[in-house]
Symmetry: D3
Subunit: 188 residues, 6 copies
Amino acid sequence: MLRIIVLLPLLFALSNASVQDFCVANLKRAETPAGYPCIRPIHVKAKDFVFSGLGTPGNTTNIINAAVTPGFAAQFPGLNGQGLSTARLDLAPKGVIPMHTHPGASEVLFTLKPGQVMVFPQGLLHFQINAGKSAAAAFVTFSSASPGLQILDFALFANSLPTELVSATTFLDPTIVKKLKGVLGGTG
Amino acid sequence: MLRIIVLLPLLFALSNASVQDFCVANLKRAETPAGYPCIRPIHVKAKDFVFSGLGTPGNTTNIINAAVTPGFAAQFPGLNGQGLSTARLDLAPKGVIPMHTHPGASEVLFTLKPGQVMVFPQGLLHFQINAGKSAAAAFVTFSSASPGLQILDFALFANSLPTELVSATTFLDPTIVKKLKGVLGGTG
Amino acid sequence: MLRIIVLLPLLFALSNASVQDFCVANLKRAETPAGYPCIRPIHVKAKDFVFSGLGTPGNTTNIINAAVTPGFAAQFPGLNGQGLSTARLDLAPKGVIPMHTHPGASEVLFTLKPGQVMVFPQGLLHFQINAGKSAAAAFVTFSSASPGLQILDFALFANSLPTELVSATTFLDPTIVKKLKGVLGGTG
Amino acid sequence: MLRIIVLLPLLFALSNASVQDFCVANLKRAETPAGYPCIRPIHVKAKDFVFSGLGTPGNTTNIINAAVTPGFAAQFPGLNGQGLSTARLDLAPKGVIPMHTHPGASEVLFTLKPGQVMVFPQGLLHFQINAGKSAAAAFVTFSSASPGLQILDFALFANSLPTELVSATTFLDPTIVKKLKGVLGGTG
Amino acid sequence: MLRIIVLLPLLFALSNASVQDFCVANLKRAETPAGYPCIRPIHVKAKDFVFSGLGTPGNTTNIINAAVTPGFAAQFPGLNGQGLSTARLDLAPKGVIPMHTHPGASEVLFTLKPGQVMVFPQGLLHFQINAGKSAAAAFVTFSSASPGLQILDFALFANSLPTELVSATTFLDPTIVKKLKGVLGGTG
Amino acid sequence: MLRIIVLLPLLFALSNASVQDFCVANLKRAETPAGYPCIRPIHVKAKDFVFSGLGTPGNTTNIINAAVTPGFAAQFPGLNGQGLSTARLDLAPKGVIPMHTHPGASEVLFTLKPGQVMVFPQGLLHFQINAGKSAAAAFVTFSSASPGLQILDFALFANSLPTELVSATTFLDPTIVKKLKGVLGGTG
């Protein structure tokens, strides 16, 4: 059993020095381009720097047989302003995280065996698919507390753009576009 | 078995647009404050974005019964300029990653069970210790391709500063300072 | 006729102060994550800050009836390190800049009439299409000297990924994937 | 006629992932060093990313026979946090945008004919003057949503600094300083 | 006597251009990762850019015979968003600023005689000690408006971590740990 | 007498971890937008982090009765990549540092008595003048290792721009422009 501890600088509560060493998100306040406003240092607790939400597999009973569980600033306030965020991927057999990009961050993915690591440069299309016979999981980290997520098919088809416009700009046959708009709840 | 693929923009090799989407490190060239110079896009291969060095446990037969295996830009060139790096921690029973800081990055640590995640804000002292009966491993990510590592005891004692100076500035008894200088190969 | 002049600080050549006010790219040197190395200040000329390459319409006689003429750091060395770059779009009637993203930058687009401006946040999919009867042009600026360009169809189909993999991760019928791989020179 | 569309990631409204892909300014809230706080994603509309304010020539009936129409975050909220802003310059014959700097950004200027582009490195003095017989216009982009604007004569003379102090630090004769203070409403 | 003046761009109050050239901190509002929200430009006064708090020696009648007087954004609102902050160090004879780091900034220290300057890279341990017979002072600047301060002994001992845990991770004898916990008000 | 020491992480020389904690400039290599390339860690010496060049007053026997002694990355290689630089100002009686800006950095100025500190936001015009009867000195720090320096009169008059162009864009009488071009070695 690992014991892992960070020493929070108690001194800060006593001094009137600024405490930007950390800026635990106040999720009740509006975000800024640099993240959420900070809660007061005196309200910061060690548990603000721990997140257990990635311990439970996501529900993969869905159209893609897969789930993404985010551990972003919105779920893990201690990440706010730290330039990092996390997520858990769960894929049932044949599960797939469809083609997507993270507009705001690069990504590092750990595959638990054989301990391989991959990096996905910011904004580049990538996907994960479970070609095996058993469920698989992976953990990822992003280079921003707010990496964003743009799933290609949602962006292309879950909208109200005229079919011929999507068709003309993707070279996909209108019938295909219409079909996928139907599957994903798009119109037009 | 997961299949995970990133689509490298082939177009870039054809155009003369810049390719800062990625900047695979040329480790033969001197670093800059922003990282290593890039290898030419035409020389980039998909495997540059994959690193297997974290698949093998580090050798924990040492004074701390623990090992840190870095996956920084220097080992994993695809990380260069991506604002991320990785490492593997191995701790034998009683193993310890001694009190340390990462001057250049915040850190996220995954404990494989129960899937808990911790964040260590940049520059704050922290440690990991294996209080269990079996070997333990953890994977970490940093918010920089070059997080740095400052192990407290190495910084304090593996140097040639006069003992009384270290003692006066740490409030540690000179006998203790001398003893640890001896253990860690310091002088003075 | 507009006369527009920037006063380059002559003083710099005389002092030994650093000259990072500008860093005209030395295109013969390898890029870094922050851009190209700078040419020596004494070699900098006013014309390094002017680029005429966007004055000529691009050749739209091609599959998309459109052209993108980049004015990035690689074409316009004075942009190096300035956090900006430019491009010209030309679209013949029915021309289209297909669905694409800029992984490394946000974009501002000027439509010359009626003087409307649009912003495309970094990494988000967008396109331009000429629905009119005459040729159209537009000028864009990016928030990076190296915005990158990922054209969706090139990324998806101009590669050697197995058709079923692309199909499974995009929900496009294998026949469509094969057809577009054919059009765009992909294999698999 | 160009049709130009950005696909806003609808998914974001459904997920609780952060939406820093864009951060449309809430102009009712105080700015931060990184920009304005964001409005809620569910309140974001496509039109927030379009700005038509540069379509109308500015009023050049003034002392400089020229006008600057800003398209900054304060006028074009979709620019907030995107690292870009825009402006339109209008110059009647003999019109001049007097010597000035942008303390917070580099600038790219498009001269509509012959499609020439210029870059003005951050903070360097520059000007535009219409040496022709007809009105001229130009569009510019800045590398920050808040480039700032410091017009030399306003800074030097539209203040209450003692004339001899301005004279001593600019080497301009006191009579000239007094005269320009008069023109620009300065005192001292 | 030096007269030193900055010309605040009066124009800004008249235009509706953004005023991020400066962002004087509104200390009544919560900090963000990028600093405090700005007060309104019309409320900015020249004195907001001046701070006299470093003119008075700090009280060195304490356990370390030294004092740190911060001039951070919290004390000197004009620094907000400027990427700089200041402090004054006072050391009585035998005074010491104990071993510490600044997790959020690099530091430059001026020793008033012989005009020597030192740089302390971000996050690296350092200290200052007065080995002379008279009081000494020094002025420092940090590369962030919020450099933070982590004093080693406070972090290690002014906490409630079990003594054996601190001992195991620092290689300090438990008796020493207990003693310093006592001195610094720690428990466990 | 102050003893001030930074503990350089010896460990780095032993490990193959990157050492971006510091990046001592290799002045023989071309700069990049992020600074100079780094010398090898094994070649770094403690003295690289110390600079004595500000200990000697600059020569004020000149047209402005003042001197600026830079301590930028080019003079003080340890500053490279640290986001800080320094300078010393010397002003004889009546001496003046003429109206100028630092396009690349904000500035903090220490006036040695009465310990007052001032901040000059990036790019804003400012000056220093010695209104006293004795020589004065001041030390400044900038928020960049390469702050740049644009002295107004040099930029306006030490160039070959036609006099009428400078006159038209500054509202200064042509006779004044010609006179100052003469003083400062300009032509046109």
